[in-house]
Amino acid sequence: MTSKKRRDWRAIGAFAVLTGPTVLGLGLFKYVAIGWSFLLSFNDARGTLDLGKWVGIDNYTTLLADEAFLSSLGSIGLFTLFIVPVTFAMSLGLAVLLNGITKGRAFFRTAFLIPAAVSYVVAALMWRMALFNGLPTGVANALGGLFGMEPVAWLSETSPPLYWIAVVTLRLWLQVGLYMILFLAGLQAIPRSLYEAGELDGTSRRQAFRHITLPQLRNTSVAVLLLILIAAFQAFDEFYNLFSSVQTGNATAPVRPPLVFLYDSALGDQNYGLGSAGAFVLTLIIIVVTLLQGRIVGFGKKD
């Protein structure tokens, strides 16, 4: 009895030593931070991180009445609507393509994956200064010129909103390889015997893809969709670096997603109450959308 008890204490001690730093760190930088920020969101906290004057839900009503905030929600919605299905289809397509290739697969995998090592800042620099720079020598314009197109100022062209092409292609280039790797792992986990059985039954390639590959990839697909969606909602780096300038900041950007809006109001205007309220509104939206998507994708189909 006593020896058992002493052993338990040793286990508890070891457990505490091993998990302690993480628990304390997350406690401070997540739980305390979010709690304090939540309190701030009900305060008039301009230029101060201390609780100022209690203003109830004023920050929330101000925010939800602010057209700039609402339009930022609209633009991130549009961005998500584009980027989620396109990223999903492209990464799955690339994975299937690579899976059908034996020689040189490692080279192609590297070629598609290596953009993932590049930061959004560097990618935005490339897109803004070389590919979509609006000069006749920019790559997009030079290519268009081959087909008789006039040079276009891609990043400031708002009707039609051609800047979306730059934004979307940038993100595709950067992240398609990551999700391709996940699909590739999923594809390689599918037992070959399933396809062999299908072949005996005379299944076509397309039928095999629909009735074997896609259902077998369901768990991977759900995970990938969630990851793409959450990443889309958190867009900041490329929008900031594609559109902002030293003179005007983000003010003249044709599109300002919620995190850039939040950055401007929390850090630019130093309105920490409003910024905190924005963080919570956004968190709530992300949680709701994620749950909805999980419901639609996760429970819509039956096994």
Binding site: I12, A14, R109, T110, M129, L178, T220, Q234, L262
Partner: protein, 279 residues
């Protein structure tokens, strides 16, 4: 064995498509190198040269000579931050992950939930709350202010927990029989046998830390605490831009990472695979 080779006749279309796509994916890298080595005139000239002629190395000198952008010290900051953050965050993740997987104590479930919940909060939305706390602690414009919040990574904990759940128990039992305590088993036997997983997470966290933009931008407003990404971004959004020097900056910023990526690719792919399938 014969079954494995029952592939349809050579997939010519597949190779052609993959080649075209590979060229497109690699094009920005070519442009980066090309534009970093041309003269300022050639950078925006309509007279296109595929290869820079003459090769202009002064752009790298210009990059570091620009006084409005402290590129050298920013690169130093980035390196320091990544080299501190990645190993510590990996080690802390391994420690907590091991305890959660293998040490049975009352309340383990609660600690697991406590950590798991932080994963559900979208990370970049918490930049305001985190700024509030780090700012109140006096971390604005400091390197520890950039580093500290990223040392505690719930994602790493969960990955390591999954890894240790499948860890062979015999290793630990052997250590127990030799009289090692829980911590002894972890330090002497478990950690040395986690090499691949440590390398995988470590490289991923290094890349993440090196490329981070939003948090360093928020907390490091003073040029002395800038990271390479912030310096580059400032350079990009400046009024007048020396184009070849800007591309030289991009090249200098990604070169160490791409080199590491090519070397550690095997581990990185494993890490990505593990992290994507956490559910």
């Amino acid at each position: 064995m014969a079954l494995l080779t029952t592939r349809r006749p050579r997939n010519v279309g597949g190779y052609a498509l993959a080649t075209v796509l590979a060229v497109i994916f690699l094009l920005p890298f070519y442009l980066m190198v090309r534009n970093a080595l041309v003269t300022p005139d050639q950078a925006s000239s309509a007279d296109w040269h595929w290869l820079p002629d003459p090769v202009s190395w002064v752009n790298f000198g210009d990059l570091f000579a620009d006084e409005s952008v402290p590129m050298a010290s920013s690169l130093g900051n980035s390196f320091l931050i990544a080299i501190v953050t990645a190993p510590i965050a990996t080690l802390l993740g391994s420690m907590a992950g091991y305890a959660l997987a293998r040490i049975e104590v009352p309340g383990r479930r609660a600690v697991f939930t406590f950590i798991l919940v932080t994963l559900m909060i979208p990370q970049s939305v918490t930049f305001v709350p985190t700024f509030v706390v780090v700012g109140a602690m006096g971390g604005v414009n400091t390197q520890w202010g950039i580093i500290a919040p990223n040392l505690f990574n719930a994602f790493a904990v969960i990955l390591f927990r999954n890894f240790y759940l499948r860890f062979p128990a015999e290793i630990e039992e052997a250590g127990r029989l030799d009289g090692l305590g829980y911590l002894g088993v972890y330090v002497r036997l478990v950690l040395p046998n986690s090499g691949a997983m440590l390398a995988s997470l470590g490289s991923l966290l290094f890349i993440e830390s090196w490329n981070a933009f939003l948090w360093p931008l928020v907390i490091g407003q003073d040029p002395a605490s800038w990271t390479a990404q912030i310096a580059l971004s400032t350079f990009l959004t400046a009024q007048t831009v020396n184009l070849p020097a800007l591309f030289a900056g991009a090249l200098v910023t990604i070169a160490p990472l791409v080199a590491m990526f090519l070397v550690a690719q095997r581990f990185i792919v494993r890490g990505i695979t593990a992290s994507g399938l956490k559910e």
